[in-house]
């Protein structure tokens, strides 16, 4: 004979009493056990072939608290229409609402629905509603009537026309639709025998426990109990481990790679002088990138201090105006030292390279990089952000040439992008010449523009006091990250979606 727990025995007895067949709900009341306990016992009894469980899905409709008000008093639009009719077929909205005794939170809703249902014309100038005749009762109203005073109605008991109104009322949050599964337990032949055997009650062997407690362990009583078996396939609660942000983790990785390759991190402030962001990089003061739609201007304070770089600034001025000592023609305009001090939100990370170069302690050879938040007054969309991160840097050495530049880019493509193939194209930056664009090919992704680079123009290095060639490079890390993360919207980098962050794989 099988061993049964007390709960199962009680359920068998109850089923027997109820003519061998009952729903779980009925059984809950009969044996005074919670839903979960009845279900658990039902599963055990089913396993032992004592009962058959019939599952029957059912959809039920219930009124919400708001729906109850409408079922009781009529829909707000109906109440307003009735009021307008009572007021002679034409009335001010406010007046009608008052006449109808309508709760204030429903006034706008009521107006909206009178229009949507075309029950009345509304003149927004003087807020007048006009009704020609009482509209006939709609399906939604019929359904509300049917539900009025009832706990719930099964969906399949509704006529077709009332079913049609379900969606509409659901959207209005007047009803809720619940999918439920009804389970009916039916005694099998052997179940019935078991229930009738008086010996059943004494079949209980060791006591069965759900929870192993410290007490059971300490007293050693765990030896005298059976542990209830769990349904190990049942779903469990979610755990959301703390995680680093996927994009910041990616930048951490890039940083670590660059450090391994011998690069030293440069830092600076988000607010920068136009001198380092533009002038020192040979961008003329009337360049379109310096206009209001190219760079964020700081409202207050307006001007920074570049007095520590007075000598360099004089040379930059001469270079812009007529080439200075660089052998260039220059831009041929009148340079303003005041404009050089203008404060802006840095538009690229290259200003940090300019600051590094002007520093008297610049070592030869040396390699530097920065991961900088930069700002552009762009309208934010799928491919543009108003602020984003740039990974940039320089390589300083006496012997550097274009071959080194291609070598540096090739190294990045392999180490950081994991590229299979690379390709170079001529590129343009105001501050480098020659300039090179790097595309990296990765199986499954195709060609991706991954970086821009060049050798700083003599008009950049010489005024800053740098006598050796300097390679400047920048990497399109955002694009690389998006490619890796399988995203096509750059705004995802600053995602406000906690669920996405929680579910994003770390690998």
């Amino acid at each position: 004979m099988a061993e049964l727990r007390e709960n199962e025995i009680r359920i068998l007895a109850a089923l027997d009493k109820l003519d061998g067949k009952a729903s779980t709900e009925k059984l809950m009341l009969e044996v005074e056990l919670p839903d979960a306990a009845v279900m658990r016992s039902a599963l055990i009894l089913q396993e032992k072939n004592f009962v058959n469980v019939h599952a029957k899905p059912e959809t039920k409709i219930k009124l919400t608290p708001e729906g109850e008000i409408h079922a009781e008093n009529g829909l707000p639009e109906r109440r307003v229409i009735n009021a307008v009719i009572a007021l002679g077929g034409k009335a001010n909205l406010k007046q009608a609402v008052q006449e109808a005794g309508l709760e204030p939170q429903f006034a706008q809703i009521a107006l909206g629905w009178t229009q949507r249902k075309k029950w009345a014309t509304f003149d927004s100038k003087n807020s007048m509603l006009q009704v020609s005749s009482a509209p006939k009762e709609g399906n939604d109203e019929k359904l509300l009537n049917a539900l009025c005073g009832k706990e719930e109605i099964p969906m399949d008991k509704l006529s077709q026309e009332l079913q049609a109104a379900v969606d509409m009322l659901k959207k209005r949050k007047a009803i809720i639709v619940e999918d439920k599964t009804n389970r009916i337990l039916e005694l099998t032949k052997i179940g019935k025998q078991a229930a009738e055997e008086s010996s059943l009650t004494v079949m209980v062997g060791k006591k069965e426990v759900t929870q192993l407690t410290p007490e059971l362990i300490i007293t050693g009583n765990w030896r005298n109990v059976n542990f209830q078996k769990y349904n190990i396939e049942a779903p469990v609660a979610n755990v959301w481990p703390g995680k680093k942000h996927p994009y910041l983790s990616f930048l951490d990785e890039v940083r670590a790679k660059l450090v391994t390759l011998g690069f030293k991190e440069m830092t600076g402030t988000s607010v920068e002088t136009a001198f380092f962001n533009f002038d020192a990089l040979y961008t003329p003061q009337d360049h379109p990138a310096r206009e209001l739609d190219g760079i964020y201007m700081v409202k207050n304070p307006e001007y920074g201090d570049i007095s520590a770089y007075a000598k360099a600034a004089e040379k930059v001025k001469a270079t812009h105006e007529n080439g200075g000592a660089t052998g260039s023609t220059g831009w041929g305009y009148k340079y303003s030292l005041q404009e050089a001090r203008r404060l802006i939100l840095r538009g690229h990370g290259t200003c940090l390279s300019a600051r590094t170069m002007v520093n008297k302690g610049l070592q030869v050879p040396s390699k530097h990089f920065s991961i900088a938040r930069v700002y552009r007054p762009e309208v934010v969309d799928k491919t543009h952000l108003s602020e984003f991160n740039q990974v940039e840097g320089i390589v300083v050495d006496e012997k550097l040439n274009l071959r080194d530049l291609l070598g540096v880019l090739g190294k990045f493509a392999k180490e950081i992008a994991g590229a299979d193939k690379i390709r170079f194209k001529p590129d343009y930056f105001p501050f480098t010449e020659p300039s090179v664009e790097l595309s990296a090919y990765k199986e499954g992704f195709g060609w991706v523009e991954f970086g821009g680079s060049g050798i700083f123009r003599p008009e950049v290095t010489e005024p800053l006091g740098v006598k050796v060639p300097v390679i400047a490079w920048g990497l399109g890390v955002d694009r690389l990250f998006m490619m890796r993360a399988g995203m096509d919207d750059i705004r995802c980098i600053f995602s406000q979606n906690l669920d996405w962050l929680r579910r994003k794989e770390v690998a």
Binding site: R255, G262, L343, L345, S386, R403, K425, V436, Q496, L498
Partner: protein, 566 residues
């Protein structure tokens, strides 16, 4: 970056290469001049091309683009020499223009065979030159007229804004110059360039008929170019002589390419050292000479090219060669290559002609030691501790707005770094604390499963007169826990564990802060210095951000703690 619409068939014809609508093939060709196809409109027969190099206006017409590419395609080597006939008209310049818009250059094109497409191309080029190279007409602006309607000589003069009037292009009634600035669309757009002067520039013919009011608008009578015009007058005014001349050369050359014949103009300037001479003849298609050292070229490129080879590559890139020596090559730079400022520009063109992908990359192991910024390690440890405590790291914008930073946090406004030109009302200033960003994040996730535990370690910015940029950035850390039972003791436990693991002794002092519940917050003290706040968020603040769960937070100045540890 400038983008230009070009006639596709015309481009293919001038290139002498069948592209057959293969845009990848066209892109490959265009890469020589740093440009690419943005859009190919098969029906309209146009191709929209984006140019990365803002200093190459010589490429912004179908003839100019083809001229540059034919060299790289091996069809035509060297530069294209243009010429103009002897001057046929004169222009007198008023000395009062000296500080307003002193320079003018002019040319006449006879027998220009204009059609609908070429007029559109011309207008497009004019517009792009005005906008980019002319810096929105500030530096230069172009005017084109039907020459046969004009009676020379011309005078480039000044007029009083409220007294002088004429009918501007697109209008039917006479307007004074002031009225044009107030009412004409172009006046509204460009008026700021002349508004500050007592008199405005005006261009008149011998019968005192108005050609234009530079740099604002042409006259309706003389300043309209149609297909019927056989002979054109092109004029450029501006603030820098070389730029004005370059612009005139570019437009004139483009019209010569369309079959026109150019005639020069004599400009009579006042006796003043700002002018290149008292008498200047324009256009001027003279080539510039620039010497390129063979050693310098090889040093920059890492190659061993002979002088002869460099000369060949320069021809491919569209230059002519003067004398070629072993050590130095004389390059002749055409008038339309205004981008050539320094021999380095020639070196790049040599490299492009040689082919970047024919150069072998070289990785040199330089003896340098890499390192992250010194505080990085500490910051990473802090992030790891927060992750270990079960908190999700988030990343938000540093651009914020006073409403979020102060009003919604129930705080008094303090000075923050605001920008003059915000694009969005939500991004008008740099944040000076992180908590508002966390509140916004939580507020956007009210339907996501609770408890919600988040943190951000990022930069905040303060105004600081002692710094070069008058501002100071600091790394701060903000942490929030939000759920039914979130509270003071929970968040205090977290900060306790955080500081214990970093080896930082701390204490909490009673305080008050309008963003927090009175009596359930405190100031975080490290080494006797206030470094932050900790507490339960004021329900007033929760309500404003539409947060439905109790929320406890702390925000600390990591910079100060890092600096103390280093």
């Amino acid at each position: 970056m400038p983008t230009i619409d070009l006639d596709y068939n015309e481009l293919e014809r001038l290139l002498g290469v069948k592209v057959n609508g293969d845009m990848e093939k066209l892109d490959d060709i265009l890469s020589y001049v740093k440009s690419e196809v943005k859009l190919y409109d098969k029906n309209a027969g146009t191709v929209n091309i984006e140019f990365k190099d803002t200093n190459r206006p010589d490429l912004w017409s179908v003839e100019g683009l083809a001229r540059a590419l034919r060299g790289y395609l091996g069809i035509e080597k060297g530069l294209k020499q243009y010429s103009s006939c002897e001057p046929i008209i004169e222009i007198n310049v008023d000395k009062q223009l000296r500080d307003i818009r002193p320079f003018i250059c002019c040319s006449i094109i006879k027998d220009a065979k204009l059609n609908d497409s070429s007029i559109r191309g011309l207008m497009h080029l004019q517009d792009k030159l005005d906008k980019t190279y002319g810096r929105s007409r500030q530096k230069t602006s172009i005017g084109i007229y039907d020459f046969d309607l004009i009676t020379p000589p011309l005078s480039y003069a000044v007029a009083k804004p409220s007294e002088f009037s004429f009918v501007p292009l697109g209008f039917t009634e006479k307007m004074t110059l002031s009225e044009i600035l107030e009412r004409h669309p172009k006046g509204l757009e460009y008026g700021h360039i002349v508004k500050k002067y007592p008199v405005y520039p005006i261009l008149l013919d011998a019968e005192q008929k108005v050609l234009s009011f530079p740099p604002i608008i042409n006259s309706n009578d003389l300043g309209r170019v149609t297909e019927e015009a056989h002979n054109l007058l092109v004029e450029v005014t501006g603030t820098l002589h070389q730029t004005v001349l370059n612009t005139l050369n570019l437009v004139t050359v483009s019209l010569i390419e369309q079959g026109g014949k150019a005639y020069a103009t004599t400009i009579h300037y006042p006796d003043d050292p700002i002018y290149p001479a008292k008498k200047v003849v324009t256009p001027n298609f003279k080539n510039r000479s620039m010497n390129l050292s063979v050693d310098y070229t090889n040093k920059i490129l890492g190659l061993q090219l002979t002088g002869k080879r460099i000369a060949e590559l320069l021809l491919t890139a569209g230059f002519n060669i003067g004398t070629t020596g072993e050590k130095t090559i004389e390059a002749l730079v055409p008038c339309y290559r205004i981008d050539i400022m320094h021999p380095i520009d020639l070196v790049e063109d040599v490299a492009v002609a040689y082919g970047y992908n024919n150069i072998e990359p070289l990785w040199r192991d330089l003896a340098t030691t890499g390192s992250a910024k010194p505080e990085r390690r500490f910051i990473d440890l802090a992030r790891e501790l927060m992750v270990g405590a079960g908190y999700q790291e988030i990343l938000t914008y540093t651009l914020s707005n006073p409403d979020s930073l102060f009003t919604k946090m129930n705080c008094e406004k303090t000075d923050v770094v605001e920008v003059v030109n915000p694009k969005l009302v939500t991004m008008t200033c740099l944040r000076n604390w992180l908590l508002p960003g966390l509140m916004e994040f939580l507020s956007n996730n009210q339907s996501v499963e609770f408890p919600q535990k988040i943190f951000e370690l990022g930069k905040v910015t303060f105004i600081d007169d002692t710094c070069e940029t008058k501002t100071r950035d600091e790394e701060w850390l903000a942490v929030a826990t939000s759920h039914v039972n979130a509270g003071f003791s929970e968040i205090k436990s977290v900060l306790d564990a955080f500081f214990m693991n970093l080896g930082v002794p701390w204490k909490i002092n009673a305080g008050s802060h309008p963003s927090f519940i009175e009596g359930r917050m405190g100031a975080v003290i490290v080494n006797g210095v206030n470094v932050g706040v900790l507490g339960e968020v004021n329900p007033q603040v929760l309500e404003t951000w539409k947060l439905e769960n109790p929320t406890a937070v702390f925000e600390i100045n990591m910079q100060q703690i890092v600096d103390g540890k280093m």
